[in-house]
């Protein structure tokens, strides 16, 4: 399908009801659900050791760069608007709202007292509420802080996760269920990034009702040190979680889990591939147009694509410090690296360089 056709389709979908918008989501890369067609935003380290958030076109052209006070991590597009939100890296004391077309900074919202953000967030399908995982750091409690974008990003609610180390959050295609990765690692801003509870971690993948905050489902990985940080969901509702193993480097554990049809199971890529992943996955993205899922490991310098149902690896590339992943229209993925590389990857074909820049891309593209 050509891009222009897609864009027309999106516009049609956006003009309709929320339900139609959602079905639009199931057909199209989520990039296209905002006003800006085919644009990818990421947190940047600049050559002068300053930091920014920047947006690129699929061909690697930098569309805008907007300076920020400190290193950011990830963010989310606000549906039906030209807004993109980015969070400061953990411990994140603020998030920024940008005009996604111009890069103009619209807001900088500070974390509530006693809380810090963890680098991620997602909007409700109507674009009104921003759900931001956060750490209430004195008691060490993971929460989802809810902000109302229609009221200048005032705090609207707080949902308890009954666990430690909330990280990435995403929205299920049902428009109602939030999917949250609970890393399980206790940290405190006074203690740098020291992991304070490695022997007693309780990571989990959570499903949360976005209106009530109820948590109807909670899944635990096969080992208590498999920090369940990153999550994504396919259009058919299959949920994926990516782990970061906190045990010794010579031990290899499963790194990806899948939840579908009421079953939570871990995917084994085989020993050779697990060695190349270095027990660490930075990003996991399910392609909205297919059953393909891409992951990237900066520790292993490896990005790969697997078939979501079979777990079969159908594409792999060595890319030092790769971390950010997003879906491209047409079925491929875009992968970014801390060395400024942007690479296009697809099923059963060689990875190709898209751009090489002097910036360093942080963990995620949105």
């Amino acid at each position: 399908m050509h891009e222009l056709t897609r864009r027309s389709l999106i516009k049609t979908a956006l003009a309709g009801s929320a339900a139609i918008t959602l079905s639009g989501c199931t057909l199209l890369p989520r990039k296209a659900t905002g006003h800006s067609p085919q644009q990818y935003t990421g947190a940047l380290g600049l050559p002068d050791n300053h930091f920014a958030v920047g947006a690129i076109a699929p061909d690697g052209t930098m569309l805008w760069q907007s300076p920020v006070d400190t290193r950011c991590h990830s963010g989310c597009n606000r549906p039906d608007t030209a807004q993109v939100v980015f969070f400061e890296r953990r411990p994140g004391w603020a998030f920024y709202v940008f005009n996604s077309e111009s890069g103009e900074r619209l807001h900088r919202i500070e974390a509530a007292e006693g809380e810090h953000f963890v680098g991620h967030g997602v909007f409700s399908p109507d674009g009104r509420f921003l759900y931001a995982p956060a750490n209430r750091y004195e008691p060490g409690e993971g929460i989802v802080a809810v902000y109302d974008s229609q009221r200048g990003y005032q705090r609207a609610h707080t949902f308890e996760l009954n666990g430690i180390g909330a990280h990435q959050i995403t929205m299920h295609p049902d428009g109602q269920t939030l999917i949250v990765g609970l890393g399980g690692i206790l940290t405190h801003p006074d203690y740098d990034r020291i992991k304070l509870n490695l022997p007693t971690m309780k990571p989990a993948l959570l499903m949360m009702d976005r209106l009530s905050g109820d948590v109807p489902a909670r899944f635990q990985p096969s080992h208590h040190q498999l920090s369940t940080r990153h999550v994504d969901v396919a259009p058919d509702g299959t949920v994926y979680a990516a782990y970061q193993y906190q045990g010794p480097a010579h031990e290899l554990r499963p790194l990806v889990a899948r939840y579908r049809n009421g079953r939570y199971e871990e995917i084994d890529f085989g020993e050779a591939i697990h060695r190349e992943l270095g027990n660490y996955i930075a990003s996991i993205v399910a392609h909205p147009e297919s059953d393909l899922v891409a992951i990237a490991s900066p520790i292993g310098g490896t990005a790969l694509i697997f078939n979501g149902h079979s777990g079969e690896v159908v594409g792999k590339a060595s890319l030092p410090d790769c971390a950010g992943v997003e879906a491209l229209v047409g079925g491929d993925f875009l992968v970014s690296s801390g060395r400024g590389k942007l690479v296009r990857m697809g099923k059963n074909k060689a990875a190709t360089g898209v751009a090489s820049m002097s910036v360093r891309w942080d963990h995620h593209l949105v």
Binding site: D192, A249, P298, I299, L319, D321, G338
Partner: protein, 349 residues
Amino acid sequence: MTRLTLTFLLASSVAVTPLMAATANNADGATVEYRKQWHSDILTGYQNLATQGQTLASQAASYCQTPSPEGFEQSKQAWLEAFLAWQQVRFVDFGPVEHRNRAWQFQFWPDPKNLVARKASYLLKEGAPITPEKISESGVAVQGFPMAEYLLYDQAFNGSDSALPADHTCKLLVEVTRHIADNGQSLANDWKGFQANYLGSDQYTDTTIRSAMAGLEILEERRLATPMGLRGNGKRSVYSADAWRSETSLAAMGASVQGLKQSFLPAFSELLAERKQPDLAEQIAQQFDEVLANFPELERPMAPLLADDSAYKLLQSLYIDITQLTSLVNDRAAVELGVVRGFNSSDGD
């Protein structure tokens, strides 16, 4: 046309194979000989730390049993010897030192909120008995060299009623130094037990090189450039350095470089030579000596060097030597070996 060429170049650079994959493709255990050497050299460093930690704990116990000005000075000396033994192996950031945050237990730093002083004040005012369990549950700011340093060296504290050899303070010093000694002994033992896994996984070759790279970067950036005012807000401040209370920030840097030379460089040089880089190996060895030639002259307090522009030149000279060493190891050698310390891989989330 230009665009096509660019794409071609990028496509080929994507295929650069990291060391881990390269060794996996070669005969099994291609780099095991280097790891044998590293294991042995690091064990020597850990055993020295265990011994010096034990001496420190014994000296603190003996001083607190029979306090005397001489005993106080001997305790400071024992602290310094043990602290420098730690500096020599501080670069190792993987394996048993990760267990229960042992590295942080030995040295909680940076400490911008002065948690060490706050925790000491809290523990001493609380009046509760200072027991090994109390130390174990009080967090990393209490458990290592900075806490012992605070009790032995902090000027304001030494002028207070709680100053050594006050009973409660003595108890704290004895238990903290005992904790350091126990950690040192456990670390040396666990490192021995780690041998089979370390030798059995080729990935630890990369990991070991990365740990040295990280150690050098922390040395250059955080331990030296930051207090020199070359980073951050641009102000010179000894409080940005570690070990400012004992005025041993610079001596500690010397010990860290010496430690890398003893425990990392031998196997690294052989690895470089085997990868047809004997000249680079020789350059790196020479640059280690260039850095170390700044010592013992620079084994002196850092604060006066920051305060005086002509004395500051000594720090600049050290800084230049260290940046050259870092550049040789972290840029040139790492690129030759395909080892990357990245924006994302070195400090993930």
